[in-house]
Symmetry: C2
Subunit: 248 residues, 2 copies
Amino acid sequence: MNVFKKIFTKNSRPLEGGIFFEAIHKILGFKPNNIEFYQKAFTHRSSNKLDLKGNPINYERLEFLGDAMLSAVIAGHLFNEVPSGDEGYLTKMRSKIVSREHLNELGRDLNLIQLVDSKVPFQHFGENIHGNIFEALVGAIFLDKGYPYCEKFIYKRVIVPYVDIAKLEGKVISYKSLVIEWCQKEKKPFHFDVFDDNGNDGQRYFGVKLSIDNKIIAKARATSKKKAEEIASKRAFFAFQEKMDKKL
Amino acid sequence: MNVFKKIFTKNSRPLEGGIFFEAIHKILGFKPNNIEFYQKAFTHRSSNKLDLKGNPINYERLEFLGDAMLSAVIAGHLFNEVPSGDEGYLTKMRSKIVSREHLNELGRDLNLIQLVDSKVPFQHFGENIHGNIFEALVGAIFLDKGYPYCEKFIYKRVIVPYVDIAKLEGKVISYKSLVIEWCQKEKKPFHFDVFDDNGNDGQRYFGVKLSIDNKIIAKARATSKKKAEEIASKRAFFAFQEKMDKKL
């Protein structure tokens, strides 16, 4: 019976085993409890949905909630991470992390737009849809699982992959240039190769690998070649950090 | 042994049973775990304290953290409380609640300044010290007990006594005028009496009682007579709400 049930609901949006549920599960890294919050987070106002009381169902209110939770989690992280930073420093760093451009990048890299329920073609959305949906998703997590899961998600999807204090402070402009500088000093050959390009104009992805001394040191995937090269360089940088710290 | 220990530490700042600990306990409504966070929240920069790493010990960083937690808790409250409010409405209501004036009022009403450790006389502080210390206190609660206790504290000290959506929306300008209007319609005698005035100019408190038909209906204490009258009127209004709803 359960097997039949699973087959029948496989393509439906809400239920466990359904495409939407599994996509959300994968993005979150943990199982949602109430999928309805997430459905709302991915519903664009053009869908014109209303609840039983006549209130519109779309992501806009969740965006407000998610923005507040994101700011709180990032504040907590910076507070602990930079004990020497004063109030002005912490405020400045946070606004860099939660800038519109940065949130759009996060949403784009997670390809959240593919899950949006809308009556408007995706091409008509502005750039901000990526960041807005990302914030709404954080809001949905708060309602569904509470603050600790917001923290968990933001650590996994924002802080670990993107928040680099040295870079935000402007001390490191580009990891790619650090790596190149080091290779040139050490007289080691290096090259970046694109190993994957899905060629899809709407949501193009690039895979880049960085080789030094003809050994593959790091790989990364991102929405532009430049970004993938930077992420691969950052990975290589941290892998080699001890070595570089001594020699740079 | 424990009895002796308690006596010996009774007047010291940090320990359970000490004046500072018990004052914090009373303000919070729950027991602090690590009193050091709260000591920091009440330390003014003029005290020039440094930690072992040379970082200044004062409330300013905690203020940043508390501000973020306060915004998040109020966002969660408004989201649930006003399901028909759109993003713009929620943003506007939140900024009314966490306005500088409102936070100063909260801090002043809790008389937080009496606990501040400073080398500058209190008279030299600006008005904002009240709100700043209030925010720092929220930050300390977050570090000490986590997000759910921030919620608990903010419900008890901000939302329940101060957050009145109808009034914030401008639908009710003054509860005092509502009460007066009702008494006049009903031809009921009413009067406000000051029953307490501590007469201390630095931190003056007024107690006001509202009598209708020669019965005491509500009492309130606040830092001005006008404010105490308004709070007493609000209490009377909600006590009589059913009655008034029918007759107004």
